[in-house]
């Protein structure tokens, strides 16, 4: 797989109805295919990797995908927005 084919596969990950992930980046690094970006769940990470494995890239897949932080139980943060000052 070369860089151009990696771009094609990125587009496929964006348009495949199983994923529609627009934020996945693929980079060819030696014998490795580095997969990075952010997805919302472990299931979505698995599906992205499954689609990549369906292609015979000939490269070792390095999974650098990160999961979005889940909204935690902590209280919401408030920020005060003041009105514009009149001149």
């Amino acid at each position: 797989m070369n860089e151009q084919q990696a771009r094609d596969l990125e587009r496929e990950i964006a348009t495949d109805p199983r994923t529609n992930e627009l934020g996945i980046r693929l980079q060819v690094r030696g014998d490795n295919l580095v997969v990075s970006g952010e997805v919302a769940s472990e299931e979505r990470r698995s599906t992205v990797l499954e689609i990549i494995r369906e292609h015979d890239t000939g490269l070792d897949i390095v999974d650098y995908i990160v999961l979005s932080a889940e909204p935690g139980p902590g209280g919401p943060q408030h920020e005060q927005i003041d009105p514009p000052r009149r001149s």
Binding site: P17, N20, G23, E38, A40, S41, E43, R44, S68, A69, E70, P71, G72, P73, G74, G75, P76, Q77, H78, E79, Q80, I81, D82, P83, P84, R85, R86
Partner: protein
């Protein structure tokens, strides 16, 4: 100083069955924190009715009015009209170049909303020139800003104490810092920012830019907040907007 109107907001929740249960517990009793909940588009991952149902189920837990705009993901399956109908049947207000007002204990809140579209920012934007495809692309971006401006103009007649502009695409590039600059024209639209600056908006809220930052300002100084969930890393933020009559 009068009490603020408490505006909760989140965007880009990208709901589908696999994320059910992520938001509902955190939205229960939100009325203790906020007067309204805005959702800045990309309610769903693929724009299917099933995912819209998941969104409606999760956000039904909120005991304040829920106002949304659609995002580009919500258009992906060509079911956006059905999604709007489903959401409205479930009590969600969908703003599409339209506005609404909500009377709170602290005053009248006006919200105008639109999805928006690509275009870019001054000096680095698409031009209404050349092929019909390019003109259509650019024209749609400009049209969305025109619709937002009209909605804000109409909203002014309702004399809200606080005016909020809600969009999916970003109205400024301040909140895109962190995203690759090459894709900024696909993330926002300076014409949206112009409409906001010329219509007395107190706060602009958007999503779409997952790798951007939360806070920015329009050229005229209106606060802009990118509430994409990966940016705020919370179920929602709350902006306590002090009514203008106190200025």
């Amino acid at each position: 100083m009068p009490d603020p109107i408490r505006v909760a907001a989140v965007g880009d929740v990208h709901l589908a069955d696999d994320l059910r249960g992520r938001y509902a517990p955190l939205l229960t009793d939100i009325s203790e924190e906020a007067d309204v909940l805005l959702v800045a588009g990309d309610l769903t991952q693929h724009g299917t009715l099933e995912e819209a149902e998941a969104f409606a189920d999760e956000f039904d837990a909120a005991d304040v009015p829920v106002l949304v705009v659609l995002g580009n993901h919500d258009y992906h399956s060509g079911a956006e009209r059905d999604i709007v109908r489903l959401l409205e049947d479930r009590g969600v207000t969908v703003l599409e170049g339209t506005s609404t007002t909500i009377d709170t204990d602290a005053g009248r809140l006006g919200v105008a909303g639109i999805k928006g579209f690509c275009l870019g920012f001054v000096g680095r934007c698409a031009a209404d020139f050349g092929e019909p495809e390019m003109k259509a692309f650019t024209g749609h971006g400009i049209e969305t800003a025109t619709l937002l401006r009209q909605a804000l103009d109409e909203l002014a007649d309702e004399e809200p104490d606080v005016t909020v502009a809600l969009s999916h695409f970003a109205p400024v590039d301040d909140t895109l810092i962190g995203e690759a600059k090459e894709i900024w024209p696909f993330l926002g639209n300076y014409r949206l920012g112009e409409a906001i600056d010329e219509t007395g908006v107190d706060l602009a809220v958007h999503g779409h830019a997952h790798a951007g930052r939360e806070k920015g300002l329009t050229p005229a100084g209106v606060p802009v907040r990118n509430v994409a969930q990966p940016v705020i890393q919370a179920a929602f933020r709350v902006y306590d907007v002090v009514p203008r009559r106190s200025a």
